[in-house]
Symmetry: D3
């Protein structure tokens, strides 16, 4: 069974992430969407909140699992007997960082392969950071993140 | 009347910024140079200092206004009835971040258009960060920032 | 009156070009869409065909003019008393070429300003070349180019 | 059965291509390495020579097929009932072109997915063009292309 | 005597840095590897540790000196009567930052020249940050950093 | 004696090239500016014209030699007992191509080192191609190329 891991901070999950997870789930037998705990120093949402939001928005995808991990991605891959990493690519800056991560992961375990998928053009400008930047001022983010995340932002940033 | 907003941190204003503001002011009826407060977590100059420095160096430009704002750029545009954003572009890294910002702003209000102008080649390496990095050690920054900013650096970093 | 020139090969015009022309026409008093003859060595469509296609698809835009020119863009700007160039930006490779052109144009006449506008995300992958590459094999290009261009491709590449 | 197509000009195949084909063949049930005829206007090797070289160097990979096609990649995918495209990524310039191709292919058929794999670092500078550029002057290309290609170059460019 | 300075944070030195230092030392009469203190806000290793590690791994290179400096690189160059800076280039993001630094250094002293050298392809993904990111979880970094640095990581991150 | 080769098409030499040659000549004992014949398929100036123009504009630089070569750069380096290549870097697109060339040259002979120098900001947009593109229409190129090249353009493109 081909198991792919889709790692990230997911602080919070956006429609861009969801697009990659959905399309990955059509190709791989199982996709594990894993919140990597060490990657974000100062997250807006706790790990538990981030996992809960991903669970809620992937509820209808039977072969998507949600998890979190504090440690090395390669160690997690081994633990899960997964040998494919999937990552969305948007822009040149993504590209260079992700190539660097894929190189080091291949160095640590040549049996693990990273597959890059192209983020849908309509989400190519979308990142968790930019959504947080505008959501804090009450901007309408309905087209950027799924409804449970819209609600979560409303709870984090209540209008006075 | 065509009103353009030139948003930024301006911590502090450099000859590169000034070049964009001047050329924007030749095309638009009014250019509002606006210090966006939320964009810099740990500025060297206070908002008041930054606004005062921009005021001083744009004093001779009758159609340039200086302001500051804490909030969403799009909300500021509405408040000012401005429908054009002008930004200088220097390098590829600028380009990707600015395209992302322009995309989200267009998403939030399709009626607002971002115009990118090319920074003069002789300032293509210039950023507020790099000026601060060298000014803290007393480097001569006369060619990089206008005289009032040179003086402001001397006050911030007095030679022992 | 603010007159902007939108220069290009337009071999043929795509929805990406049209998007820039439309949005430019909302900001400038007049936009002249000009087929630059020297830029393409081996075009698929003749200059006359390219001009006719642009005319047809911009018919409902009262302040858009269509023209062609063999020569230096700066000379054309002078002839038309236009002082703004508008160009769409899609990707990093665009960015570097266009910055180079904008630099040389500014060198040749500092009074001419180039404004870069961001191509709509949904057309960010679109270029005349790629449309021609797929249209020659009879691919459906209805979402990529306006109906008159779809028809023009059918005439150029008749199905056997 | 998961079938992936690895399209390209392969004029000629290099160790960089071979690396991607091998690693793709470990993940997919079948990989079809397909010489796309329309992509190269002025190839050094004929289609038949290019196919024969790929056949020879992939002889020991039971699940790799070699083919050639004149036409649209998407049409070939349909013909072969394949729904994955695999491509190696080396540099930023690759990245932008390949993102553009992947976008248009997704537009033409949303059911076809492109997976980008990272070229091994030791081949990151390698391209068919650069190998041809040096091989024409008799440079030693043993580390760049497999032995049959080394021999094919010797036949194309005999030493006087 | 041609003296080159190779400045950096070296937090800690990797095989990528070492490659540049070694090759620089073959061309210049003397290479001074200088830990710039101001560049890293929150280093893993102290300046003393970083200097000691570089000393240990360059012990067999007679024309390599190791030093540290808090201040402007240009002032250090003057103090050492050095007129060449050498820097390794790996990726596009490096390139832009380093071009910016080289520009400002040339502005501050036109007599100082920066020479960029290409990092060996096999280390093109390697940075101090990524090594620290994986070393903190006990990953094997033997191929990424010299033995004394491997040991230093073991001391910083003891296995429980 | 440290001998550096500065290879290129030089069709024709610009102030950007001249800047690199001059600064290279301040660091190396001898700089050989070599017109590589194979690199340009369809040059505007013949090899003899290009060599003559470089000779004329470097006449006052005693340690600059001018030459031309049809063949592999590495073979030329050996013939001249030179072990350094110098190249100017302007933009990201330059960077990737030049890194590729430097990699293959290092592969062909690890003893040859490529040093990249930063083109002066004021020439960062300048290339032989863009100068030819504007000179053919009689644009004033006095600030872009040295006087003998200005004259050569006038001879190539006489005004009617």
């Amino acid at each position: 069974m081909a198991v792919a891991v889709c790692p990230g901070s997911f602080d919070p999950i956006t429609y861009g992430h969801l697009d990659i997870i959905q399309r990955g789930a059509e190709v791989f037998d199982k996709v594990i969407c894993c919140v990597m705990i060490n990657r974000k120093k100062d997250p807006l949402f706790t790990v538990e909140e981030r996992v809960a939001l991903i669970r809620e928005v992937t509820r209808d995808m039977p072969n998507v699992e949600v998890d979190s991990y504090r440690g090395l991605l390669i160690d997690y891959m081994h633990k899960k007997k997964a040998n494919a990493i999937i990552k969305g690519l948007r822009a040149v800056s993504d590209f260079e960082y992700e190539m660097q991560m894929a190189s080091i992961n291949r160095k640590l375990d040549p049996g693990v392969e990273t597959f890059f998928m192209m983020t849908n053009n309509k989400y190519s400008y979308l990142s968790s950071s930019i959504v947080k930047e505008v959501a804090q001022y009450g901007a309408n983010v309905d087209d950027l993140v799924p409804p449970p995340v819209v609600q979560a932002f409303k709870n984090k940033f209540p209008l006075d």
